[in-house]
Symmetry: C2
Subunit: 581 residues, 2 copies
Amino acid sequence: MEKGSASPRDLGHLFSKTAVNRKPSAIKQYYKFFAIPGVGNLAGGLPNSRFFPFETLEAQSAKPERWTPTPNYPDGEDDHLDATGNGSQPKAATHLTVPMASGEKDPVKKIDLETALQYGTGEGYPPLLSFVRQFSQRVLHPNVPHSAGVDVVMTCGSTDGFSKTLELFNNPWSEGDPISRKQGLLCEIFMYSNVLSQSQPRGMNIVPVEMDADGMLAHGTGGLEDVLENWDSSKGQRPHMLYTNGPQPNGRGAPVRRRKELYAICQKYDVIIVEDDPYWYLQYPSADRAEARSRQKPEPTTQVPPAPAKSSGYEFIDSLVPSFLSIDVDGRVVRLDTFSKTVAPGCRLGWITAQPAFIERYVRITETSTQQPSGFVQSMIAQLLLGHQTETVARFLSLGSKERQTFAGWSTDGWVRWLAGLRGSYERRMNRMCAIIDEYSYEPRVASKRPGLDSDWAYVRLHRHRCFGQQGKSRTIDGPLISAALMIYLTHAPYKVLVAPGSMFAANDDIRQTLAWSWFRICFAAEAEEKIDDCAHRFGTGVREFFKIKNPEDIEELYEEFEPRMLESPDAADAFSGLGC
Amino acid sequence: MEKGSASPRDLGHLFSKTAVNRKPSAIKQYYKFFAIPGVGNLAGGLPNSRFFPFETLEAQSAKPERWTPTPNYPDGEDDHLDATGNGSQPKAATHLTVPMASGEKDPVKKIDLETALQYGTGEGYPPLLSFVRQFSQRVLHPNVPHSAGVDVVMTCGSTDGFSKTLELFNNPWSEGDPISRKQGLLCEIFMYSNVLSQSQPRGMNIVPVEMDADGMLAHGTGGLEDVLENWDSSKGQRPHMLYTNGPQPNGRGAPVRRRKELYAICQKYDVIIVEDDPYWYLQYPSADRAEARSRQKPEPTTQVPPAPAKSSGYEFIDSLVPSFLSIDVDGRVVRLDTFSKTVAPGCRLGWITAQPAFIERYVRITETSTQQPSGFVQSMIAQLLLGHQTETVARFLSLGSKERQTFAGWSTDGWVRWLAGLRGSYERRMNRMCAIIDEYSYEPRVASKRPGLDSDWAYVRLHRHRCFGQQGKSRTIDGPLISAALMIYLTHAPYKVLVAPGSMFAANDDIRQTLAWSWFRICFAAEAEEKIDDCAHRFGTGVREFFKIKNPEDIEELYEEFEPRMLESPDAADAFSGLGC
């Protein structure tokens, strides 16, 4: 299509009734009065910053060069396949300070406590909002096809982002309401389970769509088109929301070709696409070659993706599979981003990217719920990215150390460098761990699936255990039981490793029973660098020993250490996902 | 009743359908596995803290003695009636540090980034949660009558708290749904308007209850009993939620006697009481005497409230009118607290206090929306209140300055001292400002209403302007028009003060037209100390001059500078309430 030629579609008919009812705030009508030079504010609401018990917020922060990136298009060399060289100066740090008053006039440059700790607007803290907006528009999504371009609103992380997305697009339904008003959520058969905990209590139909190695199926039996075309309205409304996130046990997320097929179907059936992609930066170009190498298979040739129509200005970003936003002609894509995986989960900070008409509604929803993320985290992240110590600050702090006076924010270059370094660090961990697991992959009947795309974990698939189908003390040994027994067995000495059963990522019980049990998720992000190898060996050894068990009753005994409902509960995955992103 | 003898009632029948559907998280079932000593975590979700770009969070923080308290039971002296003596050491500060790893084992004492910036649980950050819980149970509400005692959950501020309260107790309704399912919210005729912005889009009936000087009326025409007893079910369900907050233009909040009457009616009609009291600590015992003094009326005798059955341990807290929780036999009270007025609005941090069965549901709602407040603010407030620099920290920071090594958290004593100091500072501002306004109170036909209870603002009531009822260019000059015109007039030079029209606090348009217009809210919290007197004089002078205007058309012209819908929109108050608490 002709880039930027057409406006996004008005999709207000897909909003929830509550969201439609929200009136725009009248605040802006007052700005002109607050803005009168020298006007005395007796209207109130805003406490004087002199009453705040904090005069600065400060931090020891890393430099963006801390971690060493890996090549975007790996050559034949191996240096990026091991875990060495994790940053030339891992401990180098600098001291940043958010002062009480920065002396800056421009609100998008003014980073201080008299603004950050005051009431703010729903969009987010102006300096941080302006960074995130330009980063999203120019760097992450320079190729949005409609003319309006995307806008952003800050969130308290992606779980908050999805909660607000349900608020915007879903009318809750409960027993007794007309079935014709029951709405649904299309999703992959393996998914992030917290999304189920958010959607099911609202009475939504959860509608899994089949997958293959390229992600959600567009065509064919059980694919998206099939599900929508043959929708049985006795179950409720045909779903108008689709949730998709990173790679799943049997796949690695959808390449652009597949995304275009899925998008066309969403256009035909007027479906909103919610793209939740916390691991987007963790795409591992070396995965295929490393896998081939550790399994003595012929090496695939490095595939350099086609250059984007408009470059982000960064080779690293250009090398990543682009968001659904890059093909979003209609403006029907909502993207959820988070700082949880790139700064820290405890930030509770992220943002939503979508067409401006959606963002306007998100701001209304935010004003009447979270209002804005905490000024503590917004100002610290803003200072990390944009900050510089002005004369005012130096005077205010009467600084002794040279370091403080010379603090400079990372800027966009530094932020991209940090992301590339994180990717490098995770990629090396992943390759090392998977290579070790592969050493066990014949005897123990496990094979690691390297995530080619988006993740801080890999999946391992189990072959069939000899006890499968045999009779135990009181029951027949089936897949889910073996899966639970193995998880328990691995926590015993001498193995002592905790892994996540695939059943936790199943969209429903049927998938849990038939498919999911044979997968385990192995995370290489949580443990300290130096423990990765040892943990991988303990895992491999544990699996090997488990497969030597001959007596079905021993399997059953292990299973009984476990509360069965655990595996059936979608919430169970929360323990592993850490309640998500 | 016999204290603590009876359990709270099971009020689950008042929960929303969505809230009832929420399943308890299965996380806890996994704790035993995560807790295995030396277990390697390959289950993931929790990134290694080495990847966080922050190694410390630090701050220059105030000492609790910064502000000078006022007497809880004022004697005849005047020293607390002026604004002098605002703290013996206003600038004294100390440096606090949240380290990467504190070395502490006890999770309720462990305050560091490896916990605060990691995923957490919905209740809140353990050290802060434990402080807030014991502070609520032992200091704020030591006299809860039911046996379960109250529990707490952290929120992202009181607007988030009320949003979650609607989620817990209200089923959204919209055109086309059976009217029998439309739910309602009982409230005072003057209220915090953001609550309307939150409730109305959900299709709730907003049901104002008449007030007198003691707050919401229990009995008599338009009182709570009358409204509930004679509820017209053709408008929807009889409301099962009551919202109440601080003082209103024509009153000062409800004393205990009135609260008991209201509570008994809520028991009879099975109504949940939501008490939103951000200004609770700002009760001004000197208000009556100061008012009498500045109006040359006989001074009332100081009234010392009856001592609570069980003391908080602090004279200041014991002197405050207790929460509805102190008479909550059934466990039907939900109290919203916030750090917005006691630390800073930008914290986006507060908590909900209620019976444990309610808190359990709030935690489910939190896990699937905000997850928890930001670890940045939770750890900084925890360190401010509880922190102490351990050897570990000192080594980690290789501290130079003695100050850092000797940092000690405020503890409960320090926190209460801070609150008492804030109250003192606000009380002096209030008395000074009201005394000045009283100087204008005959000629300009204004009289200030001193808030005896809970606020950082006072109300001013206008007498009738000579143009009232006269014909202007195109319309008759009515109250709302005069009110708007005066607000505009006051923003003109030389007066240049911005005040909040009472119409913004009206629960509906009828109240806005008939009652609210004659009130103005004057805030003494926002302006710098030294500007309070000048602003109050400018206000008084401006009002006096406005009342000299003879030509109705001049009033109408002023009105036209204003967008009329502004005054009709409940959201308008957001600009003044700063989007609330």
